[in-house]
Symmetry: C2
Subunit: 234 residues, 2 copies
């Protein structure tokens, strides 16, 4: 279990929306480290998380851990049962369906807004993420590929300009990313097909073809959920 990230690295990674994060509390650092750990699959889904163990590993007291777990619960990554313990979320069919349905709603709405409001910046970030993913594919680095993929979709949300949706997207995509990580470790993923889909989304955005971009996002997410269900992950 490798929780030993550098705080500064994590801080840079989670800087998508913080308006004024001049000072970052231990609680937030702890939350970020745990978030990463769950998303990257270092804790198997459904396992119990001991506050004391986490506190020992992260070299902090239990208070920040507790508050971080409260945060992660609102993001759907863990489930807290009073007096019994905290567990990493474990998906069921319904939850996966709901999450993907919700993500589709958000991304289709945001891609329309982003094309309308921030066309240039959207394209810039999409292309940058795409290049990042290409490099990851060449290097066969699945972790970096995931990061690029995440950045790609975050760009769509971010450039919608809607702070509320940006915030919610993070809490929606967390469990999905954790699921996908699990998927990676079990079945792998069809990288070239995924790359093609992203490429098409970029083209549709470049052409300001909102309808096509939305359709592509929808099918892109559907591919993922189908994949999850095939693997019977939930």
């Amino acid at each position: 279990m490798t929780l030993g990230h550098k705080v500064s690295d994590l801080y840079l990674k989670c800087r998508h929306m913080d308006p004024i994060p001049l000072q970052t509390s231990v609680t937030e650092q702890t939350a970020q480290r745990l978030r990463e750990a769950i998303i990257l699959g270092e804790f198997p889904l459904g396992t119990k998380l001991s506050e004391q163990k986490l506190a020992d590993q992260l070299q902090v007291s239990r208070s920040p851990v507790r508050e971080a777990l409260v945060l992660l619960q609102t993001e759907g990554l863990v489930r807290v049962f009073p007096k019994r313990g905290t567990f990493v979320f474990s998906p069921d069919d319904n939850l996966t369906r709901d999450l993907c349905e919700h993500r589709t709603l958000l991304e289709t709405a945001c891609v329309a807004l982003a094309i309308e409001r921030n066309h240039a910046r959207l394209l810039k970030d999409l292309k940058a993420s795409f290049t990042h993913m290409q490099n990851a594919v060449s290097a066969e680095n699945t972790i970096n590929y995931s990061r690029g993929d995440l950045a790609f979709h975050r760009a769509i949300i971010k450039h919608s300009g809607n702070s509320s949706m940006i915030k919610v997207y993070e809490t929606t995509i967390g469990p999905i990313m954790a699921l996908r990580t699990h998927l990676f470790t079990i079945t792998g993923i069809q990288l070239d097909r995924s790359m093609e889909q992203h490429q098409q989304i970029i083209e549709a955005c470049a052409a300001r073809d909102v309808g096509r971009a939305q359709a592509l996002c929808t099918s892109h997410i559907r591919h993922l959920s189908d994949h999850v269900f095939e693997a019977q992950l939930g």
Copy 2:
């Protein structure tokens, strides 16, 4: 047997706290009380919340208060500035716009899903809420009117059947409701017009007219946001 009661009896009573833990922690109780207080306008928007004061008022220690504030922060009701304090959220133009845009997205999506998936139950709850609001209007009880209004829109979300959207809706509508409460205290609201809008939404849902229901929800929310902007609340 020397003792009066058998342990097994107690076990039966609290056997399995299945879907929702019936044991509610002090933290959640605290969060609920603070949530209500903010939404009902007991704390003016933007005011500073002292952990110690709140702990004294609520007769608990500071730990539950802290964790409750973390919760409320994720719901957008308060804003925590490390080492500086916790403040009730104060809206600006952009936030209000974003929240209403987001709420519109959720409600239009959910009303379509609800009509498709839970038509009967949707209508039942909508009508019940409507009756509740009518009674509140007769009694000139604005608090009850707010509750009914909230229940009305929650019904739409709930019967979409999407757990992820249900969860997010709460965190989206919290600040909006707080804003509306503020609006009430300042300018009042056109109750009859609002009632008419709700009535029309019910009719559209009854007729399974998805497009019309969505359009009505959109304009309903737009009325609210216009009202907020007119009052220059944010």
